[in-house]
């Protein structure tokens, strides 16, 4: 519904993805001298993070992202993250990619649901970006890109009204509807119930701008207060201390969107007994969206995947496993319930060292010199751009 939702969805999901990958890479990393050829080192980890972040904040990609548009379908969005995760030497099997995506989406769903005000979704986004900047603090080139996106966020969103933010939030909640995958870190922290639903506290600070419930004031025809009563409920709310900062730098106050993973806390999901209303899940895939194919191709290409002509796909990269053992990963792939399959076409992407050059080449080709026909709609723009590839 809101045509300004996609950048927030993409950046927050991307942020969660980076938290998880960072945690897994650290957990599986071996000190440099001791590492075998196929084991992760700290250097590898930093390289993977840098590669992914660079791709994520690609200028052209961001430009396209920030254009007013409806949200992509779940399938289209999932493919974008597939590409993104493979923008480096790291490789993920289907099962690990599925798990990664489950974790990302449930984490952001949680954050959206628990945001005190709809506008606080922006603070959540800033938390993710602050953390991303931390990941790449020794790479000033990429830092610039991220700051640029930060500024664009501020420009686009700080002027929106509360009502428009609520529409964005409602659009996101529709996207996440009926997803109840259980995440063990949420279960342990008691923020998620065993049936997959999140715990909504009825205590704590009220949102900024809201009063603690209880007071009723009545006024006469002159506008004077003539009566005051109070009511009580089982809620236990308090006044908030301060508002988070919406500037480029500042204390966000809100903890949602900060990194909740650490090396010692495993990231597990439970596949059994997930979302109930799967009918609504699959219905979305049945209805054909004429533009979906273009979106898929366009973004996927932008991240340098589909047109790869090199044959064979020899595994020269490092494989990251989101499970504790390889056997677990295999088992997860086999036992994933049919209805939770993302139905993503697996593409044999190779991992040439010159990957980044590939992306630049594609991007370079997109700087089309000929004048484009006046576009009559979004589809026209995309097709025209694709013709130029």
């Amino acid at each position: 519904m809101s045509v300004r939702t996609l950048p927030l969805l993409f950046l927050n999901l991307g942020g969660e993805m980076l938290y998880i990958l960072d945690q897994r890479l650290r957990a599986q990393s071996i000190p440099g001298e001791k590492a075998r050829k196929d084991e992760w080192t700290d250097v590898d980890r930093k390289r993977v993070m840098n590669d992914i972040i660079t791709t994520m904040f690609n200028k052209k990609f961001m430009e396209e992202l920030f254009k007013p548009q409806e949200l992509y379908s779940k399938k289209a969005l999932r493919t974008v993250y597939d590409r993104l995760a493979h923008a480096s030497i790291m490789r993920l099997n289907q099962a690990s990619m599925d798990k990664l995506y489950d974790l990302m989406t449930m984490a952001f769903k949680y954050q959206v649901l628990l945001c005190p005000r709809p506008k606080d979704i922006l603070l959540v986004t800033f938390n993710h970006l602050d953390a991303i900047k931390d990941f790449i603090q020794d790479a000033p080139g990429i830092l610039n890109q991220v700051d640029e996106t930060f500024r664009q966020l501020i420009e686009t969103y700080t002027s929106l009204s509360a009502g428009e933010f609520q529409l964005i939030r409602q659009t996101l909640l529709i996207f996440f509807q009926d997803m109840h995958i259980r995440v063990s870190i949420f279960l342990k922290d008691k923020v998620q119930n065993s049936n997959g639903r999140f715990v909504l506290p009825i205590s704590g600070p009220v949102p900024w701008g809201t009063e603690v419930p209880g007071l009723i004031r009545m006024f006469n025809h002159n506008g004077d207060e003539v009566k005051r009563t109070e009511f009580t409920t089982d809620g236990n709310y308090v006044t908030p201390q301060r508002e988070g900062s919406f500037d480029l730098y500042g204390d966000r106050v809100l903890k949602l969107g900060t990194n909740m993973y650490s090396v010692s806390r495993p990231v597990e999901t439970h596949m059994s007994g997930s979302s109930k209303n799967l009918a609504s899940h699959t219905k979305e895939n049945i209805v054909p969206n004429p533009l979906a194919k273009e979106e898929l191709n366009f973004l996927a290409r932008l991240l340098g995947g589909l047109e790869n002509k090199t044959p064979g796909g020899s595994e020269t990269g490092f494989r990251l496993n989101l499970f504790t053992t390889d056997e677990e990963e295999e088992h997860a792939a086999l036992s994933r319930p049919e209805e939770l399959s993302y139905k993503v076409v697996t593409i044999e992407a190779t991992q040439e060292p010159g990957r980044r050059e590939e992306l630049s080449r594609i991007l370079g080709e997109m700087e089309v010199a000929e004048p484009r026909p006046a576009s009559s709609g979004k589809g026209e723009d995309l097709l025209a751009l694709m013709d130029g590839l």
Binding site: M1, A162, D178, R182, I202, T232, T233, D234, Y237
Partner: protein
């Protein structure tokens, strides 16, 4: 009416939410709903205290459609606090321990103090829920109820994505029939448009079911069987970068149906007694922000008070008098918060806002009469029972409150008092409706909830 017991200090409290059975009355009727996973309810009889239960094992058997009729299925949503008995209540609750244990979140281990004193007598108690084919979307005013007293039926409607869940429930609670309608484009193609709202509009001569979506406005016969009218939204009216949708539905003036749009327009449709010859009689252009809700006078308006109120995203309210030509009577300015839901009764405007406040205004003058710090989060729905002046509010904070509006006959001041609160555990409420004009019973639904929870007189 009694208010709830005060918050217990030092504890993050959860409402007890049980309905007391005062001495001398029979205990709660045993629920016929079998629990999930094949566990039978343990009926405690009058055993008195029972030890707090341990955490239930995760459910292995998932609910699947087909098989038992929908009303027999144990609902998948987090059970409401009504199903979570205190140890002192266990003896009286017919549902016993097994019934609630299946899939209950955390329960006791969350640090609650069990064995607390039972609440004073409550006005309402939870009744059997109605299962839905799909969960409710987090949209304003996402529950509509149509009562058909002659046929002892009540119909409920909530939207989810491109479709609306319609359920007809017999008064004896034994029969349910479901229907789902899809958002349509002008032609035969099924669109991917999202529905924003569904509401029954009761006019003297007929009842129409109105659906608003990103593409336009659909009107059906009240049972959803036949579409009688389709109005496509004019996309060019909206600047790029702005969402396009219709939202806000009300029957007005015994003859019109008013529907709002995201550009702030209110379309007035002239509805004939029967047939499909529906026309746009007028377009009201007083709002500059997306319309959120529209309400017609439910009681009797004093002179000059108007009979229609429209609300928008900025929080501005407009009061109108309906007719061949609609006249703007007053404009109540915004104070910085969205008004998501509005009701009009006996010349009093009741408005629910994004900061959790309910405000009452004189419709004729726009004067503020009462300010209630009602909810801790964004209010999503209001409803009003015209025979008694009871007001119902539901919000993202999981709470549903019942209030009583009245007018002091001497001073003419508007009074409001709190009557009752329900906490729908772990649910952001998005729709609330009274099920009868006196307000003896009401229905609630929430985001991601595949049921309509009903409450009746205790």
């Amino acid at each position: 009416p009694p208010t709830l017991s005060a918050t217990r200090p030092g504890v993050s409290p959860r409402p007890l939410g049980h309905s007391p059975a005062p001495l001398g009355r029979s205990p709660l009727p045993t629920s016929a709903i079998p629990p999930r996973g094949g566990r039978r309810p343990r009926l405690h009889g009058n055993a008195g205290h029972a030890p707090p239960p341990s955490l239930p094992p995760p459910r292995s058997a998932r609910h699947r459609p087909g098989g038992a009729p929908s009303w027999l299925r144990h609902h998948a949503a987090t059970p409401s606090p009504w199903l979570r008995p205190t140890p002192s209540e266990r003896g009286r609750s017919g549902d016993g321990g097994g019934g609630w244990a299946a899939g209950v979140p955390g329960g006791w281990p969350r640090g609650r103090v069990p064995g607390a004193a039972p609440s004073p007598r409550r006005m309402y108690r939870k009744e059997k829920s109605i299962q839905l084919k799909s969960s409710s979307a987090a949209l304003y005013n996402n529950l509509s109820v149509l009562r058909l007293p002659g046929r002892q039926l009540a119909c409920f409607g909530t939207v989810h994505g491109p479709s609306v869940n319609l359920v007809s429930a017999a008064a004896d609670g034994l029969g349910f029939s479901h229907r789902q309608l899809q958002a349509k484009e002008g032609g035969m193609a099924v669109s991917t448009s999202i529905l924003t709202q569904a509401a029954w509009c009761v006019l003297p001569s007929r009842v129409l079911l109105v659906l608003t979506s990103q593409k336009g406005i659909q009107m059906y016969e009240s049972d959803g069987s036949i579409m009688v009218y389709w109005h496509a939204l004019d996309v060019t009216e909206h600047p790029p970068g702005q969402a396009v949708f219709a939202r806000g539905i009300a029957a007005a003036g015994g003859r019109f149906i008013c529907v709002g749009t995201s550009s702030g327009l209110v379309l007035v449709f002239d509805i004939p007694h029967k047939g499909t010859n529906i026309t746009v009689s007028e377009v009201l252009e007083q709002h500059h922000d997306a319309i959120t809700d529209i309400a017609a006078e439910l009681g009797r308006a004093p002179d000059g008070a108007g009979d229609l109120v429209t609300a928008d995203d900025s929080g501005t309210l407009c009061v109108w008098s309906t007719g061949e030509e609609f006249t703007l009577l007053s404009k109540i300015p915004a104070f910085g918060c969205t008004c998501s839901s509005v009701k009009l009764w006996n010349g009093v405007v009741a408005a629910g806002y994004g900061n959790g406040q309910i405000r009452l205004y004189e419709a004729a003058t726009g004067l503020l009469r009462a300010e209630v710090n009602a909810h801790a989060r964004w209010i999503y729905a209001l409803d009003l029972a015209p025979e008694t002046g009871k007001l119902l509010s539901g919000a993202e904070d999981s709470f549903v409150h019942v209030w009583k509006l009245s007018r002091n006959p001497e001073t003419n001041d508007v009074e409001v008092e709190h009557c009752h609160a329900e906490c729908v555990t772990d649910t952001q409420v998005c729709g609330v409706r009274f099920c009868d004009p006196e307000g003896h019973s009401f229905a609630v639904t929430g985001y991601d909830l595949s049921e309509i929870i009903r409450y009746g007189q205790a």
